[in-house]
Symmetry: C2
DNA sequence: ACAAAAGTGTTTGGATTACACCCATGG
DNA sequence: CCATGGGTGTAATCCAAACACTTTTGT
């Protein structure tokens, strides 16, 4: 059997940039690294790709290890391959970003990792090139969410329009006109109005909506233009 | 020194999806694979990432090996990591796509690889998962070119508006209205009209334009909306 | 003189924006 | 009864699309 005898072998890791939204702020789930080097420092959740799995499965496995969640939105971001990125040994890392419903996650948390949610504007210093990964993930999320209805992945099954607007405002660090916003969102035909209201956040109460799963799947790649001037993104 | 002793090591390759434009058609540069397995079959140009280099440098090196070109537009596409993608040995591959000016390339060709340009609609069967890579690269090129002025990378330093339009039409397999197209393109302020004309392709002759490099760099990430209805892309 | 491609302007409809008031409720 | 946030409509503007004729010149 043929083998590529002269070539260098290396380690393949995956790291997950895990976004969550608590109704108010965009957050990132970080852990205290459990192994040397840099043990005890803040880090993205990661792990090594095993011999019989691809990097997508590895990312899903690792995400489940930490959060207990399956079927989460997970997308390959970038391969980071600087020869010196990990001082211990040549390791390249495929970064994935995940969008999770922060409420699903509560209670399921694997205590082993001492994970914590950090507001996106208060990310601590991270090991290796993880800060760069976070930067890139943020940029990609902004880019993608400007055109595709991806942010619903961050919300619970039932949500209100004002909640959704707060989420967009958090992602883009801006404020939006609520009349224009709700018109745009509703005009996509992706939302189904419910009979009940959320009374937590206001006296009047705001109607809940659910995603129309069929149309969501169908329109996922359509260009929806939620954001007024998507220039000056990257 | 710490090492990750229990983990599996593997090979990291890069493969390049090399696009070119001959003024008429979008093309892809393929080689006859020179090693086992699958020796002699059509393949993307690729190679292994060396111990002291990152995957970007490896892709640039490999591109130069084949075409002699440096400073080429090169962008990471995706990491392909199916455990069985290479039957010889576990190898993951970072795919990069390159946009080159097909005329720069002529004459410099490295004969060793028996490379040939194939029209994008007549790609032969490729080894491993290379067809999937090509598919993804095409989709990404379409996606990106709908918003960003990336296609100039495929043209020579001097080009005409009709040439540019032909290129867009080739990428999207469609036809465009030349009045609307030229207005849009010129309104970006990216083009500088030259004094001379191309007399090859018409009796009247079409004025040459050059890219305004400064503005091109500045506006590279802006949203230019060259394509009427970018829905139904992916 | 005619064929072939380049170049150019106007009109129309739809979409996006800006903007302000009323509604329902809990305290 | 009033403070708080939810919900809705309209007018003005801008942008994109549709569309046709004139120009140049090689043959």
């Amino acid at each position: 059997m043929t083998r590529y005898t002269k070539q260098a072998r290396l380690l393949l890791a995956v790291d997950c940039i895990i976004f969550g939204f608590d109704g108010k702020e965009l957050k990132l789930l970080l852990i205290k690294r459990g192994m040397e080097p840099e043990k005890g420092k803040w880090s993205l959740m990661g792990g090594f790709v095993q011999h019989e799995e691809d990097s997508e499965s590895a990312a899903a496995r690792i995400l489940k290890q930490l959060t207990g969640l399956e079927g989460v939105y997970l997308e390959q971001l970038h391969l980071f391959s600087d020869p010196d990125r990990d001082p211990a040994e040549r390791t390249v890392s495929a970064a994935y970003f995940a969008l999770i419903n922060i409420h699903d996650y509560e209670n399921q948390l694997n205590e082993d990792y001492r994970a914590e949610w950090f507001p996106i504007h208060e990310i601590p210093r991270l090991i290796f090139d993880h800060s760069e990964m976070v930067q890139m993930a943020k940029a990609k999320l902004q880019y993608k969410a400007a055109f595709h209805p991806i942010l619903f992945e961050l919300l619970p099954g039932k949500f209100t329009i004002p909640e959704l607007q707060t989420l967009y405002e958090a992602i883009y660090d801006t404020t939006l006109d609520k009349r224009n916003f709700s018109r745009k969102v509703l005009s996509t035909g992706l939302l189904i109005k419910q009979k009940d209201k959320d009374k937590e956040n206001s006296k009047k109460g705001a109607f809940y909506f659910k995603l129309d799963k069929k149309r969501y799947t169908a329109k996922f790649h359509a260009f929806l233009n939620f954001i007024p001037n998507p220039d000056n993104l990257k």
